[in-house]
Subunit: 299 residues, 2 copies
């Protein structure tokens, strides 16, 4: 020990890894990590993992091909001890690949029929979408538009689709007919602005719009402003996620536990790493409607 200090000796990590077979590294696969909601989840991952002995290598997915690449190569090569996948759904062919990769994998913000093979930390987006729509209906709205991510997307995002499903469910339960012209598909703020403009220039325009994310809600708000509509008197807007911008703008939104989803994902992964016999867990995190200043009864 004396000599260790004298020579300032530090064990070589790579040799340790080869010898023990543990890489002490975890991979996280995230789509578009600059998106505030994704960053927040990632933050839960990073901060929780920082307390452990594991390193975190990050793989950002912005092209569909990157996704496939990742799913194929990451869990192999014995380069990581485990992986977290955020918001991206593996295809049916990819699931067995992942499950048989030999390392524990946790799906965050994603539920997949491959239950019993992978840990999953999900959110009930159908219930979330229904809750939002129920609230708007309770306020007295019947002409409710929705701006959602494209249902068929190359990344396998499912959150928006589920929220839209909840929306239709709520409508049906209230006996309000579903109007296809009130349904718009688009990604992100800019596109949502265009979608909202279409919605708001309809002959019989909606009195409320449910946006599938807070950033999309911002786009809706901008379109409304451009058209001279007052919020919330002329138009109610609800977002989803409750990221900081929602608080800043006073946006009514559905809060989900973004940070906690990352945290919980890491906890599950670390547990499984310690005890490989751990049964795969399927957890659903709660959501909560946060009412601010962008919603009111229709005038």
């Amino acid at each position: 020990m004396q000599v260790v200090k004298e020579l300032d000796y530090v064990p070589n990590l790579v040799a340790q890894r080869l010898s023990t077979g543990r890489t002490l590294t975890i991979a996280v696969i995230v789509p578009f990590f600059t998106t505030p909601s994704v960053t927040e989840r990632l933050s839960g991952v990073v901060r929780t993992l920082a307390k452990s002995e594991y390193d975190l290598v990050i793989h950002n997915i912005e092209e569909p091909e990157q996704r496939t690449d990742c799913f194929r190569t990451i869990p192999r090569q014995e380069r990581v001890d485990g992986a977290l996948i955020i918001s991206i759904s593996p295809t049916d062919e990819e699931v067995p690949l992942l499950a048989e990769a030999g390392v524990p994998i946790v799906l965050i913000d994603m539920h997949h029929p491959a239950l019993g093979m992978l840990h999953q930390v999900a959110v009930d987006d159908i219930a979330g979408g229904k809750l939002v729509t129920d609230y708007l209906i309770k306020l007295g709205h019947t002409k409710i538009g929705i701006v959602s991510d494209p249902i068929d997307n190359p990344f396998g995002f499912t959150a928006s689709r589920d929220r839209a499903f909840g929306y239709r469910w709520a409508l049906e339960a209230a006996g309000i007919p579903y109007r296809p012209e009130y349904y718009e598909n688009s990604y992100g703020r800019q596109e949502a602005r265009e979608s909202a403009r279409k919605l708001l220039t309809l002959p019989e325009r909606p009195t409320a719009i449910f946006a599938s994310s807070d950033m999309q809600a911002v786009g809706v708000l901008e379109a409304a402003r451009q058209l001279g509509l007052r919020i919330p008197q002329d138009l109610s807007v609800v977002g989803y996620d409750d990221v900081e911008i929602a608080d800043i703008l006073g946006l009514t939104t559905m809060r989900q536990m973004l940070y906690e989803s990352g945290q919980r994902g890491v906890e599950l992964l670390l547990e499984t790493l310690e005890n490989p016999e751990t049964e795969p867990v399927y957890e659903v995190l709660p959501t909560e409607l946060v009412i601010r200043n962008t919603t009111a009864p229709p005038s």
Copy 2:
């Protein structure tokens, strides 16, 4: 090759690393990576590095001790081939440690007297601060407040200090006396709101406030709204960074090349990795004043 495919053989990365001495891994050290401006820089790093063969391991710093830990352990243990350090200044004792770690290191958003030892991709924050203040002065303001990060902070951030320096320089150049009561220290949005409240309830309140980041500017805007001040008639506000929120709120701000700083940092690192003889580079990225709706002549 036939057999390779038949057996579905994949080389073991860890063994490769031990054998070649290359880890094919790069570390990035970032403070508070959920901050939008930091995420944007990180995005430049991630996307540029994705094209290379290197993995990225991320170390988030939220406590001063983590910083010291990182600087000591990361470049040792032969666990990474290089490192990027974002916005955090090494102390004078830490610089030699880093430089002698044997791996190339690039400082992003940071200039350090240890020139000639490390690559640096910096921004001229003094000039930026001066430009903002000059603009306010040109509009006719003489009572100009400033909300800045604490100058002495445990992380070694220097950007805010430099911007404040530029502010004083501009004042001096215009012959406007510096008033200490117009200078407030605080981190982030919430604290900035309190700082702005102090400034705006002064007997002779400022007619313009220069915030050291866009998030701090949001806090200033909120304080102004709470006090019933109209923007920009009663108060001009300027931010710094030009993150998305600035665009959304129509905030006048100083744009810096966040994404590009990360990109350039990675490029420099990769070049040095290929050719270790590369001379350390000191680059300064440009800034640009983006005028929107939160600034006007004093009424």
